[in-house]
């Protein structure tokens, strides 16, 4: 017998031994009779927010600083008018270091529709010329709306019912272009306001500077230059919006004893809790739901829902508290318009963070997305005695530490 043949059985034995060493230990358990310590017990409790520990603070995102501007017509949520003020268009064009005058051939005004109620038909957007010195940040509805009248009308854009979002334009030629004519020596600024009409009360959200989707103002001109190429003679002067904003007829304000979230400038709410030691120290939280009671039906634009967002607070510095950017600690839920049903946010991970770190405040920040750019606002009940509905509460489902030491 050669050496290899002698060792073969031992190698086979070793391999077989390794194969034989398998473990499968799971068997059915008649618990709690058979299981040491019984079975895990799940507890369910509702914790109220710390009395006086909730607040709503306004001023985070100003009107016009959000991702969209609002314009509406008869919408119950709010009556709004959008405003754009374009960058200055010079009176001349420089050709070979010489300023040359030009004549306007045509003008294109382009808008970006961010959202609309897709069930409302016959939407038209009316563009009105506004004074070039208008300040969108300080303008008021009462100051702007009376100026959006027929003599100031630039044009209207009919938005096909099939268009839910995207760019719409109007092209002004010939005498129509005179409606946006900018006299030489007046600074070259064009400002315009928006009003809409449709077959039913509705609203639209249009692009903004903050989102990079604001309206544009493009002028096609013929430069007064003899004997030059077509490219120099025919030019386009494109100007983007320099300022934008919108005005609201009836700003949405927090009623006494309520927490306002959304609106413009945007409001955020901060709600503080105090976990009992029983939960904070030794419980395994399997579900934690923040329950919020609307104090009034949630207003907004139908078919354009807003999202309520809850974020963990990294440090409690009042209104300036830094908020987490960790996606796992940010929760969202779409708000149902007109509803007064309890709004629920699953903040399980947030509560687990509170358990894991004493440095993190037991606090939730609430805001509305898109901030300062939606018709939706919500008023929630607070811990104030004046609150018309119940206070925010935290519904926690948890298990206590299992009695492993029980034999």
């Amino acid at each position: 017998m050669n050496r290899g043949a002698r060792w073969a059985p031992w190698v086979a034995a070793l391999a077989a031994g390794i194969v034989a060493c398998q473990e499968r230990l799971t068997s059915p358990g008649q618990c709690p009779e058979l299981c040491p310590g019984g079975t895990p017990t799940v507890y369910d409790t509702v914790l109220g927010a710390v009395p006086g520990g909730d607040e709503s603070v306004q001023g985070y995102i100003g009107r016009g600083a959000g991702a969209a501007l609002l314009t509406s017509s008869g919408l119950p949520a709010s009556e709004d008018r959008a405003i754009y003020r374009f960058a200055s268009r010079l009176d001349s064009v420089s050709v070979r270091d010489t300023a040359r005058a030009y004549s306007v051939d045509s003008v294109v005004l382009a808008l970006n529709i961010v959202a609309r109620d897709t069930l409302v038909t016959g939407l038209r957007v009316f563009l009105y010329r506004l004074p070039p010195d208008i300040e969108p940040d300080t303008a008021t509805f009462a100051g702007v709306d009376p100026q959006l009248i027929a003599p100031a009308l630039i044009d209207s854009i009919t938005v096909p019912d099939s268009v839910h979002s995207g760019q719409v334009v109007t092209v002004l030629r010939g005498v129509d272009a005179d409606r946006v004519a900018i006299p030489v020596g007046t600074g070259g600024v064009l400002a315009m306001g928006l009003r809409i009409a449709a077959n039913a009360p509705t609203g639209i959200r249009v692009g903004s500077l903050a989102a990079g989707t604001a309206a544009t103002f493009t002028t096609y001109v013929t430069v007064d230059v003899p004997d030059t190429t077509t490219a120099i003679v025919h030019q386009s002067l494109s100007r983007g919006a320099q300022l934008n904003g919108f005005v609201t007829q009836t700003p949405y304000l927090a009623a006494p004893g309520t927490l306002l979230i959304g609106g413009e400038p945007s409001s955020r709410a901060f709600i503080r809790f105090d976990l009992p030691a029983r939960i904070k120290d030794s419980a395994t939280v399997v579900r934690a739901t923040l329950e919020l009671l609307p104090a009034a039906p949630i207003p907004g634009l139908p078919n354009d829902p807003a999202v309520l967002e809850g974020r963990a607070v990294l440090s409690d510095l009042g209104p300036k508290s830094p908020l987490t950017t960790d996606p796992t600690l940010i929760v969202q839920d779409t708000l149902a318009l007109g509803s007064t049903d309890t709004v629920r946010l699953d903040i399980t991970r947030m509560v687990q963070l509170w358990q894991a770190s004493d440095e993190r405040p037991e606090e939730v920040a609430l805001l509305l997305r898109p901030e300062a750019a939606t018709f939706t606002r919500t008023l929630l009940g607070s811990t104030s005695p004046l609150s018309p509905v119940g206070a925010p509460r935290l519904h926690v489902t948890y298990l206590l530490s299992f009695p492993f030491e029980s034999p």
């Binding site: 031992w10 799971t26 009779e33 058979l34 395994t284």
Partner: protein, 378 residues
């Protein structure tokens, strides 16, 4: 070549042998270990008090003629039945290892061994439906434990003439359980809950043993041992103290004809000392146990007595920790074994197969256990 084939066969043998682990080790401190070598297992454990490679009797070390290292591996296949259902499970363990040998010019032998004292290796799966937030939610639970208590033994034996041998042992009882409880919810709005803990044990014990030989064909052995108590910590926090048993054992060995060895032993343990401790912690208590074994070893070729002897054994015993209060589990086992020595008897392999039935009320299991022992005498 044939030895290799035998070893391969041993490793591959499926078995429903009662391993150290058992559903009857779920409660209390676990399923008690047997501190037996593979050779002793083949005889039903009846030779345990006379076997130097087993950890029962320190006086048995006196039979060693040379330094011996032994290693025991165990593969078990169990079929478990209880009111929740049935399942086939299997497990590998290494319940016994040791090194021992005589001192030169002295009738003294010393040994160090490490054996399984109790085992708590199990995973229990169950399902239920519980009301949560006004809705019935199906849940699934698994409760797993790995580990147990181990016995580190320092032992010595002294020969008093040709007929008497006495021994003493010092035991360090240690070990830990890594326990995991996991609950998952059919409603995924609820996160799965996983809790873990480590339960550790510490204690010391002492033992005395004796072997009395009456000529070449008859001998008696006895052992007494006290294990004091075990201190139980949960994640480094003291949570309990449990009394461990006194052990009393008596064995007899008889060789009626030159090629047949018969033996029997009885081991009695006072586990009821732990009863009040376990009950106070919410357990199901503990009861005294008795293990009775009867076995024999037939040597086919007296010229080569270590070449494939045939070992048979039967045993009956009770287990200390009831699953249901008042119903003490019982076990019955049949075993068979053999072995070979080779390399001028400097190495050996022993195999033991045991089929065990255990029951207590509605709970039962049967198991095939394959015990493989490797012995080296350098």
């Amino acid at each position: 070549m044939r030895r290799g084939f035998l070893l391969s066969l041993c490793a591959l043998l499926p078995g429903a042998v009662a391993a150290q682990s058992s559903q009857f080790g779920v409660r209390g401190l676990g399923a008690p270990g047997r501190e037996l070598s593979a050779r002793a297992v083949g005889g039903g454990g009846a030779f345990g008090l006379f076997d130097a490679e087993s950890g029962l009797n320190p006086a048995a070390l006196s039979t060693l003629s040379t330094m011996t290292a032994s290693f025991t591996g165990l593969q078990d296949y169990r079929h478990v039945e209880n009111p929740a259902g049935t399942e086939s499970v299997r497990e590998s363990r290494f319940p016994q290892l040791g090194v021992a040998g005589p001192l030169k010019r002295l009738p003294l032998a010393l040994g160090l061994s490490f054996s399984n004292y109790t085992s708590r290796d199990f995973t229990l799966a169950s399902a239920d439906t519980i009301p949560l937030r006004g809705v019935l939610v199906p849940v699934s639970d698994t409760f797993s434990s790995r580990g147990g208590m181990s016995d580190l033994r320092f032992a010595g034996a002294y020969k008093l003439g040709e007929r008497w041998a006495v021994g003493g042992s010092f035991h360090v009882i240690t070990g830990s359980n890594r326990i995991v409880s996991r609950r998952t919810f059919a409603d995924t709005s609820y996160q799965a809950a996983r809790q873990t803990s480590e339960i550790s044990f510490a204690g010391v014990g002492f033992g005395l043993g004796v072997v009395r030989t009456f000529g070449p064909n008859f001998s008696l052995a006895a052992v007494a041992r006290s294990d004091g108590h075990a201190i139980i910590d949960r994640d480094s926090t003291r949570v309990a103290q449990v009394d461990l048993p006194y052990t009393f054992g008596f064995g007899v060995r008889w060789r009626p004809v030159p090629n047949l060895d018969l033996a029997s032993q009885v081991i009695y343990r006072t586990w009821s000392g732990a009863n009040s401790d376990l009950l106070s912690q919410g357990g199901t208590g503990a009861e005294n146990t008795v293990q009775v074994a009867l076995g024999g070893e037939l040597t086919p070729d007296m010229r080569r007595p270590f070449r494939r002897p045939i070992r048979l054994g039967v045993r009956y015993g009770t287990l200390p920790f009831p699953l249901v209060p008042g119903e003490q589990p019982r076990e019955f086992g049949l075993s068979v074994g053999s072995g070979v020595r080779f390399a001028q008897q400097r190495a050996g392999i022993d195999l033991g197969l045991e089929h065990v039935w255990r029951s207590a009320g509605a709970y039962s299991e049967r198991a095939l256990m394959v015990t493989l022992g490797v012995t080296v005498r350098p």
